[in-house]
Amino acid sequence: MSAHKMHVDSYERNWMIFSAVLLVVFATAVSVAAFGMGIQVPAPEQRVDPRTVATDPNSPWSNPGLREIAPGKYDAYILARAVPLWEYLPKELTVPAGSSVTFYVTSPDVQHGFKIQDTNANFMVLPGQVSKLTVKFDKAGTYNFICTEFCGAGHGIMYGAITVTP
């Protein structure tokens, strides 16, 4: 048996080189958005006990809602739940335009999703974990946030809204 060299047609070799370059370009564009513009995916924030997260008085999710931590900067603690009904607590938030809101979302029961329309906030909500992302609301209007993961019979009615006032 002799060792054989791999035969690659010149057109095909050029196509493979081009494909590799193209993928490198896409990866670069993604990296610029992630590390240059701060468009990032969620990172591990905190572990919680889903059995007590909604009731323990020390848990921010026992009193979910908006907290202003600095002028124009808010923390929003949101509970996504399927029991007894499919809903977010709170269901409605209001902030002035120009606000930067950091969302902390968790679930006391099954998996949920959390997607704020027309923003980059779109993530999974898992019992036992806290999902965190920040959105800056520059334009006034109503932004629905909807559940994007199957969470039982009422998945399709689970939503809330953020009102951004001018």
Partner: protein, 549 residues
Amino acid sequence: MNQYQVSAAEKKFIGSHILVAILALAVGSLFGPLQAFEHAGWDFYTYLKPWIKSYYQGLTVHGVLNALVWTTFFIMGFLTFNVIFGLKRPLKNPTLNKVGFWMMVVGVLAAAIPILANQATVLFTFYPPLKANWAFYVGLTLVVVGSWVEGWGLFMTYADWRKENKSERTPFVAFGSLVTILLWQICTLGVAVEILTMLLPWSLGLIEGVDPQLARTYFWFTGHPLVYFWLLPAYISWYAMLPKQAGNGKMFSDSLARLAFWIFLVLSTPLGFHHQYVDPGVPPAWKFIHSLLTFGVFFPSMMTAFTVIASLEHAGRKQGGKGIFGWIGKLKWSDPSVTSQLLAGILFFFGGIGGLANASYNVNLVLHNTAFIPGHFHLTVATAVTLSFIGISYWLVPYLTGRKLWQPAWARIQAWVWFVGMIIFSNSMHVLGLLGAPRRVPLGLAPYVPAEWNSRLFQVGLGGAILFVSGIMYLAVMYKTATNKERVESEVIVPIAEAMQDPAKSPVWLDRWAPWIYGTLALIVIVYGPQLVEQIANIALTSPGFRVW
């Protein structure tokens, strides 16, 4: 032309796989249009209440039967055929393969009972803490383990062939099939561990709770390579059979095709975090590394695109095609098997584009769990894969049964109807996703749907209706073929395209298994190991089960 004779018993055995597959497709596809109709606001589930309790029970039936049962049974049947026919030898231990097959059948039945009883309305991703009846998890386990056992039977057959043919190149159809099975055996470890260490003991009441984040990590260890388990059998047909069928074309590059399969083996498992970009419990650094590897696995698909199209161009030019595109019309569009697979390949271009967008790390923030996702995978698994399998069945079923394909014209039209229906369905789903519509919601009834979605939602329903017609046509052709009194005059010739370069002259390293297997396992350990260790070390079995459907 004398071709290798597969024994009647083996043909029957392969045929049993195809039969179960088509039965699953028949039932599962009934529900597909019902899901689509719900988007358009046409609610049929109200009338199904005595049998099917909800949209979500129907969606579970559709997903499990079409994405898991139809594919797995068709694939195991087709790959078994490829190994026997490719190596020109019978199965070493047919009993072992039969045991595997019957485990899979029992598994499907075990899972079907709780699904039909509305005790397992957890969709085909079965994310805990949604808690199904234990029989659902037992059933899934049996299907996976049964497919392993069948795979072992095929590896043993190959080992014997190798002993007798030390310096031969493995014939391509057998080679591709064995790589696919190896990939499957490695990647299904994730879901096996998920079920056996968490979901099954939990559903039996042996442990109180599960860790939903760890369960997702296990699931997606299997979940993405599953896509390649579906896709590679179609690639085998596109590479090595379709060029022959389309006009006696040759395989443009045998060695690059083999290289592509090895890259799929190495890269398709260690990138599962690209399904978990927006999970809270996985560090972004690992997500980013997996995104780069996902870009890497796009590369062999680009190679495949070139080799397959060049092989088809070779066929078309042999039939007299001139000019840059003149050869396309010269391909044998009159053969329904060719038409199905060409149309499947055309839509796969768009499946690839959507897939690359999903895979692009933060770009996933725009798309994650929107209607874009089912739009995407109806181009991949439900068209590139399913319509190709349909095309394969148009020659394979006559080959296995010795009965003539009933009404080839119907079969051909069926493929076109699928193509048109899927374009309408999938395009509108992609657009809805970009507008922000979530997946897994009967959008016709959702309270937050803005008026601008309505025309697209209607198109989803329209596409579903057209696909329903195509599905019925396919089932009719298969039923009438299987019961056709008209027999084929002589055994159907299995389409196998020659390679332009003699495979015996391709490099030896393309036929060595060990380095590729070690490389695969090493890469898995490197890019999955640290996170698996960390997540397992910090396991919190704190989620009790819920039945909220």
